[in-house]
Amino acid sequence: MSLKLTESLQKTVDSLSQTFGEKVIEVYQSSGDTFIWVDTDSIIEISAHLKNELHYIYLSDVFGIDRYTSEERFEVVYNLLSLRDQTRVFIKVRCEEENPEVDSVTSIWPAASWPEREVYDMFGVTFRNHPDLRRIFLPEDFQYYPLRKEFPLLGIPGSIELPSTTPDSE
């Protein structure tokens, strides 16, 4: 598939593939957005390059995807925006089902803190070197990851506590 890249996106893709070579696995476009799938272990250096050299100073979102495949099941997507070039790019990394781990990019974009906690909460992807990796929405003692495909839609009965139906005073 031929890519239709704007000047600044072309510059981004060229710069990444020249600097990181094989670590940029695939570049593709879908619905008018550009996705760059990169090597999981190099996410820190690639992020630093994107921020410092290519001016992607604004991390607007981080989210997870459960691909439900036997290999490289989980995907973490970083939605980056360059305010100077008015360019949006999505960086993707993939990780295995067993013990999914990705380096946290909070050292580069502090804004990644809460979205990474959300990905951890919903998919169970652990972020190495995250300053405060706790569940963000669900109770601390909740044992499941609700956005994984095998999790039942209505949840697991009794997994979240309901309030007692007798008041404390009685």
Partner: protein, 160 residues
Amino acid sequence: MGLESALGQGFLTTKMDTLVNWARSNAAWPMPMGLACCAIEMMAFAGPRYDAARFGSEVMRFSPRQADVMIVAGWCTYKMSHAIRRIWDQMPDPKWCIAMGACASTGGMHRCYGVVQGVDNFIPVDAYISGCPPRPDAVIHALMKIQDKIKTEHSVLLDT
């Protein structure tokens, strides 16, 4: 004047229960528990067009200690359920509860792990209102049902 002229110099006998129930049913102050879009319709219910003051329920009390009827308007998460129960426990007896809309009654379209499938899982509900969201008339209907319920209650003295 009204009653005095109609009765002349007479007087009126009634039962204590009836008098108390009449007073209670015409001053059922709501505790608004607005959790989602139903809260907007609940505001319309209290506003001048639908005018809940005709039924004595015009004063929304944001303190549970001054309220009689809790209107749970909107979908309730497990996290929120603890707060609702806490507020419900703070309301003085006797108290009533309206589950307003599909979500508060059954979970509605929020058929998922984070939303309680009906607030009757943790508080006793007296009236359920269907609709998504229900029209203010439906809330008034539920309020009238609650009034009927209050009017037919008998004294706790009879139980002992």
